[in-house]
Amino acid sequence: MSSSSRFEPKIVGFICKWCTSAAADLAGVSRLKYQPNVVSLRVMCSSRVDPEHILQAFKGGADGVLVGGCHPGDCHYQVGNYQTRKRIMMLLEILKDMGISPTRLRLEWISASEGAKFQDTMNEFINTIRELGPLGLKVK
């Protein structure tokens, strides 16, 4: 990468099948474009995302991680997203001690009908991380 070229962040998205992933599909069929910096992994519920997965994503080279689930009260498994929120809140505290900016981990509620919100959120998150720069972890 030459120094003049723009830093392209790598983002991992863990998105739940019932809401955020459906929103991603809706964005797709509606031809709503967003920057191609995200690799999205569909999970059954946002609460399936173990904090270990997020740490592994960072270690594996992700500059940012976005977890997407259903709005509070709407989780297909009723309370999954509440569990997710508690875990992410705790993990954010841990990340600070690990020297990783909490900005790099984001939790968003995006419902199946919110294709435009999916587009906006991704673009906005990618831009934020691009501005923040590469995470540059040096653990092997």
């Binding site: 904090p51 809140m89 505290e93 001690d97 020297g99 653990v139």
Partner: protein
């Protein structure tokens, strides 16, 4: 036939692991009569040159305790690796980084500054820090260099087996020696303790309800001692669910919750993340602000969840970071 040769060495550790060998008491006798201890700096007078002259693989088994954070330790660990058939990581620090691994939350300079300048018991007006080379009365003195990162033994050399614990119970050391002598060792890479989590054998597990809901994390002094009750049920953080069993519940029996010195089970990659995960789900609130308050009732969360395993965790601490 000559007896198999055994070596013991210590790196960054507190000496507790050495003590755990001494704690074998009379059980050490069958061991010492069956093997030749050819190197054990803490107990007997040997020189590094005694190791250097050995053939490669001449030592049957070497137990190394302590984390690796100085170049001398790394050098000797590599030397012993070459000369030994088996290398056994002895205790939490060699296995996981241990308590000394918590230094990975800080930069090397901060660690040195704190120890040699900041602590109130130190008087160091010139701010002198340990140097690798110093001139003193016309002579050059040399000290081992401190690495910027604390490493587990297996981040430096290949390790064949692990004896967990801070320090390991003598029973596990005895079993390990027996397995070596009788050639009954499990597959390489095995942690020589139980497979399941501590809760599985915990004497308090019967009282653990199916669902635990916590509105506050408490500290020991806030609850009355009830030797029957699961700590988690009382709101006290216990790392039993994410920690390997095999310690004989030494802490639990002394009314102290598990702090994770046996490290994670085979299925767990990151003991801290796993602990966070189950503890978060016990929080009895869906209200963001209230959840925040409950989380804030845990003092030094990262230091608690990674007390013994930071250096072996996925991120290994706050080290070598390019950016934030």
């Amino acid at each position: 036939m000559s007896k198999p040769k055994v070596a013991l060495y210590w790196c960054s550790s507190c000496g507790g692991c050495e003590e755990s060998v001494v704690d074998l008491a009379q059980d050490i006798l069958p061991v010492t009569s069956a093997v030749d201890i050819i190197f054990w700096p803490v107990a007997m007078d040997f020189k590094y040159s005694d190791i250097e002259v050995l053939q490669d693989g001449e030592i049957a088994a070497t137990l190394i305790n302590g984390a690796i954070r100085m170049d001398e330790q790394e050098h000797i660990a590599k030397l012993l690796r070459k000369k030994s058939q088996l290398i056994i990581a002895h205790g939490s620090c060699a296995h996981l980084g241990g308590v000394v691994g918590l230094a990975n939350f800080y930069k090397r300079e901060d660690v040195l500054g704190e120890a040699f300048k900041e602590v109130p018991t130190v008087k160091n007006p010139k701010g002198i820090l340990p140097q690798v080379k110093t001139e003193e009365a016309g002579r050059e003195l040399e000290l081992p260099a401190l690495h910027d990162t604390v490493k587990t033994l297996d981040q430096v050399v290949q390790v064949d087996y692990y004896i967990p614990g801070c320090p390991p119970p003598p029973e596990l050391i005895k079993n390990a020696f027996a397995a070596i002598l009788e050639n009954k060792l499990p597959p390489k890479g095995t942690v020589l303790a139980e497979k399941k989590a501590l809760c599985d054998s915990c004497s308090r597990k019967e009282s653990k309800p199916d669902k635990i809901k916590l509105s506050k994390f408490k500290r020991l002094y806030e609850v009355e001692w009830d030797p029957e009750k699961c700590f988690l049920e009382e709101g006290i953080i216990c790392l039993g669910p994410s920690t390997r069993d095999g310690c004989g519940e030494r802490c639990i029996k002394a009314n102290f919750p598990c702090r994770g010195c046996f490290g994670p089970t085979d299925e767990v990659l990151d003991q801290g993340a796993k602990s966070l995960s189950y503890l978060a789900s016990l929080i009895d609130s869906d209200d963001e602000e209230e959840v925040k308050k409950i989380i804030d009732s845990i003092p030094d969360m990262a230091g608690l969840f990674y007390r013994y395993s930071l250096a072996s965790s996925i991120l290994r601490g706050n080290i070598n970071r390019g950016t934030k």
